[in-house]
Symmetry: C2
C-alpha cells in the first residue's frame, strides 16, 4: 500500500526542486542566447556521463551512482545559489551556505531518502570515490567546453586567466585523464585565440 | 590511447545536444515565469525516477536503464520540436519527424554509441519493457503535476478536457500504478477546482 504521508513528502520535494530551473550559472548556452541554469546543466552532465564513460579513470566505475550524483549535485543551490568557480569572495562561505541548504532541501524528504540523497551530494563534493571523481571531472569539463565554444564568453566577462583555469580544472585528471589532456589542449588554444588571458605570470602580474 | 576522431564525434554530439535547452514544452514552471524546456524536463524526470522508484510496477526494474532512457528520450526534439500531447495535427507526422531527427542527431555519434543511444530512445518510445513503462509513466506524471500545481495553466490555454487527460495518462498504470492512482485523484480535484474542464461527455459535446 502507498503511504500517503510518504508520497506527500516526496511530492513536496518534487515541487521544490523545480526551482533549480531558475538558478543561473555563469556558463553561456552555446548559441549565446542566455546563461545556463542548474537543471539543464545537471541534465547535460548526465548525458555526457553516459557519452564519455569510457574515459573514466578507474575500472568498474558504477555509472548508476555517477548519474544519481550528477542529478542531485546542484540541488542545494536552490537556497545557496550558484557560486562561480572563480569568485574568491563567494567561495568563502559556500560550504556553510550549501550545508544549510542541504539541511532544508533534503529535509523535505522521508528520512531514508533524505539520508540517501544527502549522501550522494556529500560523496560528489568530497571526490573521495572513483564515481565522484569522474562526476566532478565532467562538472569541470562541461563548462570548460562551453567557454571554449563561446569564444571565452564567461572567462572574458570575469577576467579569468589561463592559470586560474588550469588550477581549477586540474582535478579532472583524477577522474578522466583523457578529458583533462583534451582540456589542456583547449586551454592552450583558447589563449592562442585570445578567448582567455594568458597565465598571469606571463603578463607581469607576478614576478 | 584516446582515438581523436572518436572523441571529436562525441564532442560534436556534446555540443549538438545543448540545443535541447532551447526546445520549449507546453508545461509551465511551477512559479509560472515561463514554459519548461526539454533539457530541464529530462533532468526533472531523472531525479523523480530516483525519488519515486518504489512505485515502479515491476520488481527488478533496472534504474540505470531508466535514467539513461529519460536522459535521452527527448533528444530527437532538437530537430522534431516538442509535440504537445493534445495536438491532434502535430501527432500525425510526429513519428516520421522524430525518426528523421534520430537519424541525424544519433548519427553524429560513433557507430556503437549511435546504436546504443538510438536503442534507448526506441525502447522508451515503444513502452515494451518494465523500464520503459516506468519511464513513460514519469513522463506523464511530471507534466500532470505541473499542470495541477499551476492551476491548470497549460490545460486552460489549450482547452484540454478531463477525458483527454484521463486517456492520455492512463498508460501510467502500466508503469507506476500508485502514481496513476494519485493522478486520478488529482484530475478529479482539478475538475472540482475548475483547473480543468470536465469530461466532454458531461458538457454535452458528445451525445
Amino acid at each position: 500500500m502507498t503511504d500517503p504521508n510518504r508520497l506527500t513528502q516526496q511530492l513536496r520535494f518534487f515541487a521544490e526542486i523545480d526551482k533549480l530551473k531558475t538558478v543561473f550559472r555563469q556558463t553561456w548556452l552555446l548559441d549565446k542566447s542566455r546563461r545556463e541554469n542548474d537543471a539543464e546543466h545537471s541534465w547535460h552532465l548526465g548525458l555526457i556521463a553516459m557519452l564519455l564513460f569510457e574515459y573514466a579513470k578507474d575500472d568498474g566505475v558504477d555509472l548508476l551512482r555517477v548519474l544519481k550524483m550528477v542529478l542531485v549535485h546542484d540541488v542545494v543551490e536552490i537556497d545557496a545559489g550558484d557560486t562561480f568557480a572563480y569568485d574568491k569572495v563567494g567561495v568563502r562561505d559556500q560550504a556553510e551556505r550549501e550545508r544549510k541548504a542541504a539541511d532544508r532541501v533534503f529535509g523535505l524528504l522521508p528520512a531514508d531518502q533524505a539520508a540517501e540523497f544527502r549522501a550522494l551530494w556529500e560523496e560528489f563534493d568530497a571526490r573521495g570515490t572513483p564515481e565522484a571523481r569522474y562526476a566532478a571531472a565532467l562538472d569541470r569539463f562541461q563548462p570548460l567546453m562551453h567557454n571554449y565554444l563561446t569564444e571565452g564568453k564567461a572567462w572574458r566577462q570575469h577576467g579569468v586567466t589561463a592559470d586560474q583555469v588550469l588550477a581549477r580544472n586540474a582535478p579532472m585528471a583524477d577522474g578522466a585523464p583523457a578529458l583533462w589532456a583534451h582540456a589542456e589542449e583547449i586551454i592552450r588554444d583558447a589563449v592562442a585565440k585570445g578567448y582567455l588571458a594568458g597565465p598571469a605570470w606571463q603578463s607581469g602580474e607576478r614576478d
